[in-house]
Symmetry: C2
Subunit: 336 residues, 2 copies
């Protein structure tokens, strides 16, 4: 696994999630933006943690969740991100490596703690995220291993990387290394507020550096500053090779070449926690993509992976995802 | 909550659980005693952690789980136990306090890390536990706050406390403080291997210091060195005021005064992870006991609390347990 071709290398903030249930009154009392990811500083993170209920800790991070999901589907994957020199950093490293993912980025040189995301899950299964970036902001261009990037069919970048200033340079170095090696670059827009923070730069990036775009409805409407989904869809046409636009229970719409496909969400007995839904959709989609499947089948695998992760607490799969692929898709995936 | 009468104070090892799924082959390969709790040293813990899959971290510890469960049922509770000066220690402290439990024991003076229990959950939902005791062995008699003990109707002790040598003295001090204040002492035998390690001392304890005994079938048979459950039941008669003997899906048998009651297990749609089943049974039983309910009703509440915790990953309740009590029990509990 340390040599040879990889399917996807992900670059993102290395974060441990701290998940607890909360009611709507808790969100109101602490002025939390429901369903969004808000950046918080350490004092705010400490105060919120003290106020929230009994929690569980589980490795997270958007791109890292995607990479863990891809490995769980049977893909070969790598990850680049910065943890701190502490227990949560060891937890993050253990968990992503446990799935067979190549993860060699050295921990931060400083004493800054590993990033954590305080996630409040309301009774409607929605998650509200509050991220203290900690050591993850110390990622630098020299952490981007161009040789690793060159080995992967796709380099996957999360929009959240645009938040830590030094990470932008790492992001651009990775995109250039990928294209220099004749590989593809994928980007997730991450969060509607993240798009607001970096809209102009994201628009520039799309034309110059991105082959495959992932966005949910809020993000793509925010990117183009339009009110309706169809308007956002039309604005996205021709911007990059592939765009997968996710719409929660409404499924996803995929722009691929000149075609438009509409795929349904996969059924879920009970939605417990939507944390990681978009990340796992991207995992499934990229698994199909790197095996050369048609766009519609990529979306179906994405939907299956997302359905697993929203059926339990936490943003990493609890069961090997390749077990969940239907007969019709599994042989195609194995064959490639 | 910092003054006034408490229902139960628990004393036990302060542990964070690290849970991952594993198959039977993994247990065989690493020579793990399925279904048991095995003590491991730090090198063995490190090696096992490296070998196990992606995990979640959640506060644990047998007596601590019981106390968290009691608070979730609406009881007033305190806990005494030793964490390290590290992130996992902060996690443990946060989680137990988040339920309203009084927990003031200072962290260890040393740099020894917080105790952790590596738990492998097999597809049959059985858990196999490997505990590195870490800072929890540094509990001392002076950590036992006699004033706190005196405020609680019941002091609840876990048999696992007999493993760290210094904890025995803390255990005995607590039992004496409780009885000196006219309170009750409850003991859980914890684990069959734990009973084997300390059989003679546990037998002595029962006669001298214990009013309420909790044991599962393996533990009570090991205590009396008999082959059958009924034999163990007969041997337990008259040993202490109340004994609750749990039998997994077969329910529990309660000896109370001269009476014997047989209570069924509560139904569970799907058993996901049996970690904490005995701990939460004790929580429910003690909740009823401290409200003066008849023994059979105590067992019913115990069964309901156990059913919740085995329906998901981890040994702490995910939903407020008082919500789960049936009409017939809830008013009685509220009235008392």
């Amino acid at each position: 696994m340390t040599d040879g071709l990889l399917d996807v290398v992900g670059i993102g903030n290395a974060i441990v999630d701290v998940l607890a249930r909360a009611d709507e009154a808790f969100l109101a009392r602490h002025e939390l933006a429901k369903g969004a990811m808000t950046l918080v500083d350490e004092p705010r993170a400490t105060a919120l943690y003290a106020a929230m209920g009994s929690a569980i800790e589980v490795s997270g991070g958007s791109a890292a969740n995607t990479i863990a999901g891809l490995a769980s589907l049977g893909g070969r994957a790598g990850f680049i991100g910065k943890v701190g020199r502490d227990t949560l950093g060891e937890v993050f490293r253990h968990d992503i490596r446990a799935g067979g993912v190549v993860f060699e980025t050295p921990a931060a040189a400083s004493a800054t703690p590993t990033a954590r995301c305080l996630i409040l899950v309301t009774p409607d299964a929605q998650r509200t995220m509050n991220t203290y970036l900690g050591a993850s902001v110390e990622i630098e261009p020299e952490d981007v291993d161009a040789a690793l990037i060159g080995r992967a069919k796709v380099t996957y970048l999360e929009g959240y990387l645009w938040d830590p200033p030094a990470a932008k340079a790492a992001f651009l170095k990775a995109a250039e290394a990928a294209h220099g090696a004749g590989r593809k670059v994928a980007l997730s827009l991450s969060d509607g507020f993240c798009v607001e923070r970096h809209r102009a730069e994201f628009r520039q990036l799309l034309g110059r550096h991105v082959d495959i775009l992932f966005a949910n409805e809020w993000e793509i409407r925010s990117l183009w500053e339009v009110a309706g989904f169809d308007e956002a869809l039309q604005a996205t046409r021709g911007v990059c090779e592939v765009a997968a636009l996710t719409r929660s229970a409404k499924g996803s719409v995929i722009l691929a070449g000149g075609d438009v496909h509409v795929a349904d969400a996969a059924p879920v007995a009970k939605v417990v926690d939507t944390t990681g839904a978009g990340d796992l959709y991207a995992a499934g989609f990229l698994h199909g993509y790197t095996r050369g499947l048609p766009a519609y089948d990529c979306a179906r695998i994405g939907a299956i992976a997302a359905a697993e992760v929203i059926s339990h607490f936490g943003a990493r799969p609890e069961t090997p995802l390749w077990n969940l692929l239907p007969e019709a898709l599994a042989p195609a995936v194995a064959r490639a």
